[in-house]
Symmetry: C2
């Protein structure tokens, strides 16, 4: 355990700059959180924004007052503050230390690892996130989206995977609810203080998550769910998990932004397609068009195949309906095809129609007869008819025997 | 024009072996169709299947009788026989000459170009197919599939592209109907004789296609729509067009087989995704998963972008809803975000909350005021409030101002 002072200093640093801030994180790496905080308080940094924040929080930055405000506040909330020196720190988020994204925006630039995480819930954080998949998507989800989210999250939970998401209405909530329904662990990563998980409409769900899984946040209690914080938060969802599934997303959505972080971190980015007529699948299709590394997934089997250890989950390729006739070699299929629907034909006629030689036809006919797919008629032994049980064609755009002559 | 004898010989060769047959096509390339036919009639080939077929058709293979049966039959049908020496021959199908597919099946092996094409309709075949896109898919299409097919085909026809498909119920028929509704040309490639286009349930549509576009087939009149012929036919749809769009397809479907020929020919393979809950989108999603060369398309713009000449069609990337606030630089957005919903705040407070220095905040506030997004309140000139017209957040999984405090 880091001493309380170091832990409290990490919290205080999130008052002075948003989580992910490159300069603050580097300073902490260099000299530790307490020393970094001291330097900021002494005005030894060039950032006027931080200097302004120091002035705003001045009274609370006294070491004694700080410990009281952080550790005391955590106890009061039934939460704990987890820092990198703790055993339960989720190591995977450290990969944010080297993430670099293209562009000049502040949110693109400032994607360093969290300084600390506030955690509510009984499970150890790192172990809970070890085998985890994020399931994210639109707030304005459709019934289709919440259905598919439910199938995937339930299936992941059944296989012992932790489901991670934000706390929003729509896909996020559907992911948590389904995982919990399967008796699984679920982690909600918030973009505000744990004392007021946003949105309040999901309060009952947040309580349930805190009971059966974990509520976590980089922000201290009291922090508001400001708009840009969701974009900052998204890097943690991307980094803390083995892979992320995007179920529904409008063009230019927050979920698309998460997926771009997933790809930048070389994590597994998975996308569920949907009807092209649906506005909340536009972001999904666009990502699949633009990012060939993104994997199209249609269900939990594809997700498990993508995130599991090699060979852990093997997915059978989809098959059309199976029919006895699908098992036929091509020559037998051609012979069977040549047998008329009504009446009989001689083997010579079948040979001409199927484009095969007579010997081949006779050999194949014996096999087809044994398989019960044709029968001999008459005493000469050369008349044949397709038996009634002859199965239908599995091919969508070819005539099934039943409608060949409509 | 090839002389009638050569033309008739090409037709007769399709009586003796299915179109695409590698041996027959090579023989015709070597010595011409009449000579090739002579050699087959004289039994100078090893194929017992062809020898059997020669015996079955013997009486009709006399040159005079042959001309009568072919050219006469074409006149009677209001059709013509088009061969490679004709100006209207669709040159693109010649690329089948070098197509090689993996596997040992007869239908995989025998994918050589057509020997001749029976054509009904007034337009020159080659010119009609010059700018053409195939739209194929499931017979058992859903309302979603036929809707999307209609949108794409209508749009293609509006842009002067010919739509090509089979003649089946479902996607094929929807493609033809929408293209005709837009006043476009459409080509139905049949897997049976032109005298009996299959399925009979689409007869009225076939008549309409013959009026406004073209009905074509490699098979002579009288040829039945045997199951394997649809698979043979598919190579022509793939080869004759600039690209092929698959709208709905079950696993292992005929449409998927067409797309694999499209890819083998280095043509543009396009796939429309759909709900993962739909059995007739399984083949589409599987193809997108397995073949990275296949392009996901969600509408006619994507199709035109893929098949058009470089720069001919430029597609705007999809955008979320646009709001004044989306146009803001990041610092202005942070300042605006920091302005409280109710009441006022001083610039110093805003600076602390936004994590920006005071000078930046003051500069941004002036801009926000000019844009009508904040207003000054009170006489001291430091109190501000977010104006009522402040627009909603475009991000799906972030709080819109209107529901931030629910």
């Amino acid at each position: 355990m880091a001493e309380d002072g170091e832990r409290a200093a990490r919290v205080a640093l999130t008052w002075l700059a948003e989580p992910g801030n490159r300069m603050v994180w580097s300073l902490v790496e260099e000299c530790g959180a307490s020393e970094a905080l001291d330097r900021l308080v002494r005005g030894e940094v060039e950032s006027k924004a931080i200097q302004a924040a120091v002035r705003a929080y001045e009274a609370d930055l006294e070491p004694e007052r700080l410990r009281e405000l952080t550790v005391g506040r955590a106890d009061q909330l039934g939460a704990r503050i987890v820092v990198p020196s703790d055993e339960e720190w989720p190591r995977r988020v450290d990969s944010l230390a080297t993430l670099s994204l293209e562009g000049n925006g502040r949110i693109l630039r400032d994607v360093r690892p969290p300084l600390c995480l506030w955690v509510r819930g009984a499970w150890p954080l790192g172990e809970t996130l070890e085998r985890s998949v994020a399931v994210v998507g639109a707030r304005a989800a459709t019934a289709y989206g919440t259905h598919v989210t439910g199938e995937i999250s339930y299936g992941l939970a059944e296989q012992g995977w932790t489901v991670v998401s934000g706390g929003a209405f729509g896909i996020d909530a559907a992911a948590h609810r389904a995982a919990m329904a399967a008796g699984g662990r679920t982690v909600a990563v918030l973009a505000c203080g744990l004392d007021r998980p946003y949105p309040a409409g999901n309060s009952a769900m947040f309580e349930q998550i805190a009971e059966s899984g974990l509520l976590i946040s980089e922000w201290p209690p009291g922090a508001e769910p400001l708009r840009h914080r969701f974009l900052i938060r998204n890097r943690v969802i991307a980094a803390a998990t083995v892979g992320t599934v995007m179920v529904e997303a409008a063009a230019r959505s927050g979920a698309s932004q998460t997926l771009s972080r997933v790809l930048a971190l070389n994590r597994t980015a998975m996308v569920v397609p949907g009807p092209v007529t649906s506005a909340v699948s536009v972001g999904c299709h666009e990502l699949l068009r633009e990012r060939p590394e993104a994997i199209l997934v249609t269900g939990v089997d594809h997700v498990l195949e993508a995130v599991g250890r090699v060979g852990e989950y093997l997915v059978d390729p989809p098959r059309g309906p199976t029919h006895a006739r699908d098992a036929l070699d091509e020559e037998s299929a051609l012979v069977l095809e040549a047998v008329p629907r009504r009446g009989t034909a001689s083997p010579e006629e079948l040979a001409a129609k199927a484009g095969l030689d007579l010997r081949t036809v006779l050999r194949r006919l014996s096999l087809l007869e044994v398989a019960g797919m044709v029968e001999r008629r008459g005493t000469a032994g050369v008349a044949l008819t397709r038996s009634r049980a002859s199965p239908a064609s599995p091919h969508q755009d070819e005539p099934a025997p039943s409608d060949r002559h409509d």
